[in-house]
Amino acid sequence: MRKFRRSIALVISLLMVAAIVAACGPANQAPAGPGPGQPAQTPGQPAAPAAPPAMVAPAAPDPTAIFAEHIDVIKDNNNVGVLNPLSPAANNSPTNWSFIMIHDRLMELDFDTLEFVPSLATAWETEDYQTFTFTLRDDVVFHNGDRFTAQDVANTVELARELGAGSQGGSFWAPVESFNVINDTTIELTLSGVRVDFYFNLAMPAAGILNRRAIEADAERGFWVGTGAYSVGEFVPNDFIRFVRNDDYWNTDKNILTEQITLRFVPEMSARTIRMQRGESQLSFGTSAEDLPLFQAEPENFEVYPLTFNNPQGLSFNMNDPITGDHNFRMAVAHAMDKDVIALMAASEWAIGDYFTGTIWGYNTEFRNNSIPAIPHDLDLAREFLAASNYNGEEVEIAAAIITNIRAAQALQHQLAAIGINARVAEFDSPGLNAYMIDPNSGSQMVFFNIVMNMSSASFRNIFIPGGPQNRMFYNNPVVTEMLDEVATMLDASEREAHFMRLQEIVAEDIPFINVFWRINGILAANGIGGVGLPPDNQQADLRELFYIIGYN
């Protein structure tokens, strides 16, 4: 009898375990091959990084279509803690997307042509890139009913000075030394020096025009008041933001079709997937590459849009370190790495090794030099360079923070072992890695990360000059520094272009950083979703014209 009971207990236990295992299986079997929406490029194909679609749209908005009143959008745990462009904490992509919804800027950047288009300013001029005159619209009102005038631009400049230390908004307005409000629709801004990239500053999401009266009345919610297409209905920091359509929006050229849009931050990857599968959310910027095939298997319900960001994932070298500061060692690493394999290991089909060019430049940044050859994967050459270097078999470190880069670092570790470099991988979280790389005494040697590159060539000053906030390599080439100083005051665009072309060649020869792979981000949308602006700059996804056609197929 006792044996029988034990057997029954064992059977029950096994059944429970089996039930658990069964419940872990995928909801639908993923297809073996590529599905619709999968990126056209696969590792190894010699093509330029995919230009992202400017807009995600199944069709032009049909006037007879029934549009959803509310759309739920998922973002990952890269969340919004504050909606204040003058706060240093307003530093990530969803915060910038939110600013685009609620604050208008003087001008916007057309990502296809890299030209500036009017927004609150209808015209602008400068002769010396130091004094700028802006003509403003006279038909714009803030969410609180205040009329927008030139004084609001002046107030924004002052607020940025008073409150914006260390913030994106503060840094964009920082070059302004003085202003002159000529009348309600004209303002003149004078900078402390020549800034050929000033228009780029003004087109950034955190350079929106603020309402001083609202901010003085409420130091927190006052920053939510803008002139944008949407106002803030509800904001729970780090959880969600509900945007409510501004029915008095001045820009009638835009199709603002959805009454409410919720931008939601879901920390758990599986929960993001389930929300989309259940239809609780209609658009996701945070579905993991591993789960995307589930949706590609349902083309009647979902579409996956590939988006390549402007900046590649790459390997930086500490130029002050005796080993990684050695040019021969860096060349050995460059030849030893198989970028396609690293891309595959890091993000399966959703990344592509960068064998396009050897330049260290955003693919959509102005003045990119595509004629610089990439360093080929060649183990014989790698061994030759290593033999000529001062490497003596000691352990070198590859640091990384996010999971994609950690996997890439592990793949590189194995590839370096093939030529006799003994590497170990050190894992950090993002703030930890930032601190580690900035500290010149930390002993960091190689780091897998992505340098943030925007569309403006002038932004590369931050990357290549000694002490620049993005110069985590401690790169210091006096020729490059001098060229960057010179180019900052060059008014002629063709001269600047020639200068930057040469500069990229010098930096590529120095090889302080290797572009390893381009990450292809799968933006997941329920069929019927459209109107999403997807610029290569991840900071400026535009959800203002987002719509969802009910019953679309």
């Binding site: 207990a9 803690g81 504050v82 929960a271 929300r275 950090f428 993002s430 906030p469």
Partner: protein, 320 residues
Amino acid sequence: MIRYILLRILWLIPVIIAVSLIVFSLMELAPGTVVDAMMTEEMTEEAREELIRRYNLDRPMLYRYGLYMLNLLQGDLGTYDTTGADVWREFITRLPNTLILSFTALIIGTVVAIPLGIIAARRAGTLVDNTVTVFSMIGMSMPLFWLGLLLLLAFSLHLRWLPSGTFDDGIRSLILPALCSSFTLMANAARQTRSNMLEVLKADYLRTARAKGVPEEAVIRRHALGNAWIPIITAIGTSLSVQLAGSVVIEQVFTWPGIGRMAAEAVRARDVTAATGVVIMTSILYVLVQLIVDLLYALVDPRIKAQYLSAGKKRKKRAA
């Protein structure tokens, strides 16, 4: 009794000092500061240095800790280093969500666990007992994030009965996180109830009660369970304290806007003020729950109540 309660509340002072010092030290040891977490490509070296000065990161940790404690003495938990939001306001906004989740889990756990434990003890060695034991073992050993994902897959995705989390769907949103949260408590309390009941069921006074003709139900309810309550309350109280202290995992899996997520975000952003504030408040909650548990002992066990009362009488006698 009142003196005992006051004494326990006074114990909060060293607890707060110790907890805040530990959090400050751990955050100091972690690589990176709040300024590193806020770095952007536009942040110049000058701006970075200004922020370092603003947050007193150029001063020793003890200086920052002293400043924090001075504010705390005035009842001020401070503002987020990152966003400038008021820590107390944020905590008090999120606390009800965690309380709802924790108490719902407590109710589910207790209502299921105690009868299960009693049944298992009364039928010790049978299939029922073995099943309850296996269930308890699974409940205690299964990681909560794993269970949470299983529940999401089963009830939210496959069966489509319940939403996948967040706070939007009223009581339906609560069911899965509460069920998941109650699982460990259920397993723990069922096991505790079973083992205590087994011990009590062998006691002489139960045999005497039965011999006197007391019905079996009354024997179990009044005599057996009455004497088995203390360890059960301890188990439930400990589980509740842990849940109140922030079920980070549950709140992350189910996107539940409670204090667990608040703490996790504060640590991720290296926000020492927010992290310390939320840990201090949850420590206070922990101590208060333990105090309530101690007081419940007196309620369910007349011997403990008598101890409290006799201690009070002795003091009065000495004073006289």
